[in-house]
Each structure stands twice: as structure tokens, then as C-alpha cells.
């Protein structure tokens, strides 16, 4: 089964019940209708799926409207998502998407 790997670091994991790693079947990212329609699934879809099924508290610290909250870096296969097409990046089986808070302490 095609899956993607999702990781949380730098404090983002606290919003997800302290879970640092998830493995999500790709077809589950888009919900029921997606697989039927063979829809291309993007990071945007992943953000919605995370909000609906995994985000446990204070969604406003993870999302701002439909996009990611500023201060959280979205990393696709070790690259900043801006290098990969941003929210419209089409997820592929085996992808690893990491959400990392920018730290400001010292």
C-alpha cells in the first residue's frame, strides 16, 4: 500500500498528542472521494487531513486559514517546500513530510 511519512519536530508534535511520526496511506490523505476520482493529492490536502484526523489541540498554532502557520517550516524529502512547489506539491508514495517549528531560544 502506498503511504507517506509525516514527522513533527521542534514543538509541533505537542499539537499532535506528542506523536513525532505518522505513516498515512496516500489514499487516506484526500478522504473517501479522492481515491475514487483518482485526484492528485497535494500538501494542501495533507494539511486538511491532519487537521481533521490528527490535530489534537489549538489548531490555530498549526494552521492559519488553509495554510501553515508562519514560523513552521514544511520540509518535503529534506527540502523546504518552497523548492518543491509549496502547498500544491503533489504527494508521491514514500514521501516524507516534516513540520518543524522555528526555535528562537538560546
Amino acid at each position: 500500500m502506498a503511504v507517506i511519512h509525516v514527522e513533527f519536530a521542534g514543538g509541533v508534535e505537542l499539537l499532535f498528542d506528542n506523536v513525532k511520526k505518522l505513516t498515512i496511506p496516500l489514499e487516506c490523505v484526500g478522504g473517501d472521494t479522492a481515491s475514487k476520482e483518482n485526484k492528485i493529492l497535494t500538501i494542501k490536502d495533507l494539511l486538511q487531513r491532519l487537521r481533521q484526523s490528527y490535530l489534537k489541540q489549538r489548531p490555530e498554532l498549526f494552521l492559519q486559514g488553509d495554510s501553515i502557520k508562519p514560523g513552521i517550516l514544511v520540509v518535503i524529502n529534506d527540502c523546504d517546500w518552497e523548492l518543491m512547489g509549496g502547498p500544491d506539491y503533489a504527494l508521491a508514495p514514500g514521501d516524507t513530510v516534516v513540520f518543524i517549528s522555528t526555535l528562537h531560544g538560546g
Binding site: G10, V98, T102, L103, H104, G105, G106
Partner: protein, 292 residues
């Protein structure tokens, strides 16, 4: 005393012998260090570790800026301070320690026990070659970032919180600046070590990594964390090495149509350094775990 030195003394050769034998560093690297000026802002956990390594490795000039005084709750991570130093200015004590470690530097290290502000920041940055961000708050981090872009200086930035640390070199050649990633500091939610805690060794690790990158910048070695962000998670023992975007052409600071052309609180928000309450030792409430 102001002269650029092109040769190492016998005493320097003895002291730096273990770096001089390294083919990738050698006399050329040591002389570059000898003539480089480092500005370190923040003399906390990151700054303690970064400064003593820079000084030890032969930094020609080291200026340390911090207006904070040493508190008991700093000592678990701020490794250059002793219990007897509590109440003293951090920058002053750290400069003493660096001098005692290495009296051979081109200039004696200098302490500035003041807060970094829009008034003093640009001049300080301009007077140095390599800038290290060892601060502990969003305001200072963006202020330094803005000054480094305006003055064209590389900014070696590290941070630490809880079990996590980060490192990157901003504004080195064509690498991103902080605002290319997140343009507006005023909407960022930030956590501090004082409120949220930090494991002692984490800032020590990150500060030493920061010194290593600053040395690479000064010595003309390839700067491998420009455009790359390192994230260290001590709990899982993971190191993420993230390739960052190129400079953002729409960046309000370093972009083509930049709107930020001076240091100003308009672009920075509130300077929380001045409003922060001093740490109160003993304000931590014992939880049930303490009665095992």
C-alpha cells in the same frame, strides 16, 4: 595594535599546533582567524559555548553583547559561569573567561553589557566580519538579521529549546535571510528557554556547532550550512539537514523591492528584552513526581 598580522608568533604556533597541522586549515586558516572580527550577541547557553571555542581557536577580535546578569537557573547550561558569578553581567564574565583561556588574540575580547537596539545594532555589525546570533528572542533575532542584510554580513544563527536545537548561516553570499522564510516577526509565536525549559547540553552542542561554522566562514572553508538548516532532536537523536529555498525575490528586506531600508521597531514589533521580568529562582512548583 591595529596592524593586520601576516605571520604567527612562536607562541601562537605552539598554542594552535593542532589546528596548524590540518591540511584543510593550516597556517592560512589560522591567520584568517587571527585577523577576523566576530560579534556574538547573547551570552547565554549558546554564547558561552560559541565564545570559548572561538576564542580558543584564535579569533582575532571577539565582541560579546548581553545586558543580562547571571542567575542561578542559568548555570545548568551556561557553562562558563560559576555560582560565585551570580549577579554579575554575563558579557563581562564571559570576556574574562575568554581572556584567561587565550591571551594571544590580536585584540582583547570586549564586553558590551547593553541591550541590542535599533540604535546600536548596525554600527556594531558593520565593525565586525562574522556575526553570531546567540540571542533568545524573536525581536533580537530579526534585528540582527536586518542589520546583517543592510551591512552585508554573514549571520551564523543557532537556537535551542527543550530537547531541540537549530543552526543555519543566513545572508552568506546568496543564502536566504530570516525574512525570506518568515517575513513578519510580529505574528510569530515564540517560546523561550526561561518559560519552556531546555536540557543543559543542547545549547552547548549548538553553540559549539555555531563556532565551527563561524570559523569556516572566517577561514574561507566551504560554508556548508548556508542555505541549509540543521535541526537536532536530542530525544530521538535525529539530525535533519534541510535544504532551504533560495533568496525570496519578494523578501521585504533582501528582495528586489525591499521596503525595509533601516532598522526600525515598525518592522520588528515590541522589544521584549526590556519588559521581561527577571527569573525568579524557586518559582517552580513541585509536582507529584517529586514524592516517589
Amino acid at each position: 595594535h591595529e596592524t593586520y598580522k601576516a605571520e604567527l608568533s612562536a607562541e601562537e604556533i605552539g598554542r594552535y599546533a593542532r589546528q596548524l597541522v590540518l591540511p584543510n586549515f593550516g597556517v592560512k586558516g589560522q591567520l584568517a582567524m587571527r585577523n577576523a572580527k566576530f560579534l556574538v550577541v547573547g551570552a547565554g547557553g549558546l554564547g558561552c559555548s560559541a565564545c570559548i571555542h572561538l576564542s580558543g581557536s584564535g579569533a582575532g577580535k571577539l565582541t560579546i553583547v548581553d545586558h543580562d546578569r547571571i542567575e542561578a537557573s542559568n548555570l545548568h547550561r551556561q557553562i562558563m559561569y560559576t555560582t560565585a558569578d551570580i549577579g554579575r553581567f554575563k558579557a563581562e564574565v564571559l570576556v574574562e573567561r575568554c581572556k584567561n583561556s587565550n591571551p594571544l588574540t590580536l585584540y582583547p575580547p570586549e564586553a558590551l553589557c547593553v541591550a541590542l537596539t535599533t540604535d546600536n545594532c548596525l554600527e556594531l555589525v558593520r565593525a565586525h566580519d562574522v556575526i553570531l546570533d546567540c540571542t533568545d528572542n524573536v525581536y533580537a533575532r530579526y534585528l540582527l538579521n536586518d542589520a546583517c542584510v543592510l551591512a552585508s554580513r554573514p549571520l551564523v544563527s543557532a537556537s535551542a529549546l527543550k530537547f531541540d536545537g537549530q543552526l543555519t548561516v543566513y545572508n552568506f553570499r546568496d543564502s536566504v535571510c530570516r525574512r525570506c522564510l518568515f517575513p513578519d516577526p510580529k505574528i510569530l509565536q515564540a517560546q523561550s528557554c526561561d518559560d519552556n525549559g531546555v536540557m543543559g547540553p543542547v545549547p552547548g552542542i549548538m553553540g559549539a556547532l555555531q563556532a565551527m561554522e563561524a570559523i569556516k566562514v572566517a577561514a574561507g572553508l566551504e560554508v556548508t550550512f548556508a542555505g541549509i538548516k540543521l535541526h537536532y532532536d536530542a530525544l530521538t537523536g535525529s539530525f535533519y539537514r534541510i535544504k532551504l529555498r533560495p533568496r525570496n525575490p519578494l523578501c521585504p528586506l533582501c528582495g528586489a523591492a525591499s521596503v525595509i531600508r533601516t532598522l526600525s521597531d515598525d518592522h520588528l514589533g515590541t522589544n521584549t528584552c526590556f519588559s521581561r521580568q527577571p527569573e525568579v529562582p524557586g518559582n517552580f512548583l513541585l509536582d507529584q513526581d517529586s514524592r516517589i
